[in-house]
Symmetry: none
Subunit: 402 residues, 2 copies
């Protein structure tokens, strides 16, 4: 029997509360002094919690595979990311609040700087500010509403980013990116990857050309690139699978979008870490399952800033007592992938996790860290199996078979 | 290649002896003093054995999934319980010694107390004694032999339980339970779950009505409920798969039934723990594989009686030297699932196991317990993989590939 089908068949409703606290890119690698960001962070609250928890490492996708944000979170939500794929375009679009219907094709956009002869000088247009990006999107909305009968909707994102949703008959997301992927190179146009992608590639390229003409007078953002074309995925949804009222408490569009795709409700939480935990407390009575997403561990890891990533971990540790005061029946703390500062990028290393509940066999872990969790009682576990474990500890799964 | 097909293709005969000693519901959770039933039990023999064994934890079905007795044992016998399902009705029927042929439909029965207007007052008829149940089954056998040309066979069980086997043309086990599942509620009748279940549902409901009429003068057991309708499963059998003469030594009908379903022979062993080990010794020359099942660890765990469960474990420990005197080539000690006394029910926690054989890399485990096994060299292993490991240690698997 399929894993999700089993969970769907066994899940029952009750009044327990589950918290999944994700520190994006939590896992790291040792600095020259031999300790990872998490190991060197002063985390008295997480350490105490780990000592009373079951611990282990989560393999997000498969051994040696570095996950993007989509697959990493899908795993945490119970979906085997080798089986369920969600395109980056739709993630971005839903993340900024776009309504996407089956048949639509979404894309991530960058405003960029074009030079002579279609050379892309800067793929991010000097990382223009968010207000600039909004202004330019407004300009484009006045000019571009449809192409070949296809409706075009534009959404401003953070800094140089935006999202597009194409709606109309005969669209197909099997088309290549309209993006040279490198700077100083000529523009690369979208091509169909299946015969039924002809129209979509044509509409995309027409859109990019129109944007180029429309923004010719802009200094930095005088063009755009589109990539990650994708439509709505065929995926079973949280309320149906797990019978929980589920809340996503996140600051970044991407993670809100992902949560909406799997059927969670998004509760607005502002942009700060403190805001996340305030929102958790204020929405406590209204939901059963809380996905709390801290972005900044990943951001600082991607910056290659070991100390700053460690500091974010320490700040989150300070909010752990507030979470415990809410008395969740199950609390998991983990990451969606590793982002070691020494690599400055996502990595394949499994994510340390702890699961706290009244029904664990505590490992007595001396601290919360990668090497301690590697010796934890849960071993290395596929991330998509975490959801079943959380539901079990919350008393939300009936017995399998007689 | 399918796991069982691989074992079937590689298994060879020899004269080694394998013992699988199952303490039903062995795994537990810590009491307030921090130790589980197994960890707090005085088990000098199992502890010494563990130090010379490979140890680990068995995941019976899947992470977070609480197994019923059927799936738990199927796993121990080498069948992935996510793939092979056995209905409760046939388990119960074969357990009490019924012969079941393909096309038959079996059910678990409860004698119950009916009130006015078909209200089910007590689903277990006050847990009448086994002799009472036998007397009532004898009464019914005189009255009911067939319905619509379908032959009806009745078998008394323990306390209020009995089993029925329906034999005849056109039966289908895809019918719902004839059981309100709760007390103080009106009777709920069987319904077909597939069009071909029409006749079966009709026969079942007719049977229940006839029983109600027949037992109208009984004080407690004046009616019955039927549930868990199921026929013979399509499952490859022990002699074919593993080429061993296999014996089941168990006290309870359910486990004898399960052993028969997979193709073992059942050796009668009475009702005591001592009887199990006497039977193991007396049947030693006649079989290659011995499944020895101790029920009482689970029973005491389900009673929520921590001390009594610990006492059963200590009693079994006392028989371990007798097993070792027989010089089995492979001895595994484990459970079919966990039954923590603090939960008073089956649970999802993996089962500690030890495997003793001359060809292990001993872990040097300091004792036999959940947390020690969690650090064992076998890690967390799917239970259905245990059979291959046992066969290998017994020299009963040929090399895979040239």
């Amino acid at each position: 029997m399929d894993h999700l089908e089993m969970l769907r068949g066994l899940s029952v409703e009750n009044n327990t509360k589950i918290v999944l606290l994700v520190l994006d890119g939590l896992g790291g690698l040792p600095s020259p002094d031999g300790m990872t960001e998490l190991e060197s962070a002063s985390t008295p609250n997480l350490d105490l919690l780990a000592s009373r928890s079951e611990t282990g490492l989560l393999e997000m996708v498969d051994t040696g595979i570095t996950p993007g944000s989509g697959p990493g979170h899908l795993g945490l939500f119970g979906y085997d990311p080798r089986k369920y794929l969600i395109g980056r375009g739709i993630l971005e679009a839903i993340g900024v609040g776009a309504e996407v219907l089956p048949g639509d094709v979404c894309a991530r956009g960058n405003f960029c700087t074009w030079g002579d002869g279609d050379i892309i000088i800067d793929r991010r247009a000097g990382r223009i500010e968010t207000v600039e990006s909004s202004r330019i999107v407004d300009r484009l909305r006045e000019t571009i509403t449809g192409i070949e009968g296809v409706k075009v909707r534009l959404y401003a994102g953070i800094e140089h980013r935006f999202a597009v949703v194409f709606s109309g008959d005969g669209l197909d997301d099997r088309v290549s990116d309209a993006d040279p992927q490198a700077e100083g190179k000529p523009m690369v146009w979208s091509r169909p990857l299946a015969p039924s992608g002809d129209k979509t590639a044509r509409v995309i390229n027409s859109f990019v050309k129109t944007v180029r003409e429309c923004l010719a007078d802009e200094k930095k953002a005088n063009g755009c690139l589109l990539r990650g074309f994708s439509g709505t995925p065929a995926i079973p949804l949280f309320p149906d699978l797990y019978k929980m009222r589920s809340a996503a408490i996140a600051t970044y569009p991407m993670y809100k979008g992902l949560a909406r795709i799997v059927g969670m409700e998004v509760v607005e939480a502002g942009r700060t870490i403190e805001g996340l935990f305030n929102t958790l407390r204020s929405s406590w009575e209204h939901y059963d399952y809380f996905f709390v997403h801290v972005k900044y561990t990943d951001s600082r890891g991607e910056d290659g800033d070991f100390d700053a990533k460690r500091d974010v971990i320490e700040r989150v540790d300070g909010f752990v007592p507030e979470v415990l005061l809410l008395k969740p029946d199950v609390l998991v703390v983990t990451g969606d992938h590793s982002t070691p500062s020494v690599l400055g990028a996502h990595s394949w290393h499994p994510s340390p996790f702890l699961l706290a509940s009244p029904h664990v066999r505590p490992d007595g872990a001396p601290a919360f860290g990668e090497r301690v969790c590697a010796r934890g009682s849960m071993g290395i576990m596929h991330a998509y199996k975490l959801m079943g474990l959380m539901l079990a500890h919350a008393g939300r799964l009936a017995k399998y078979g007689a």
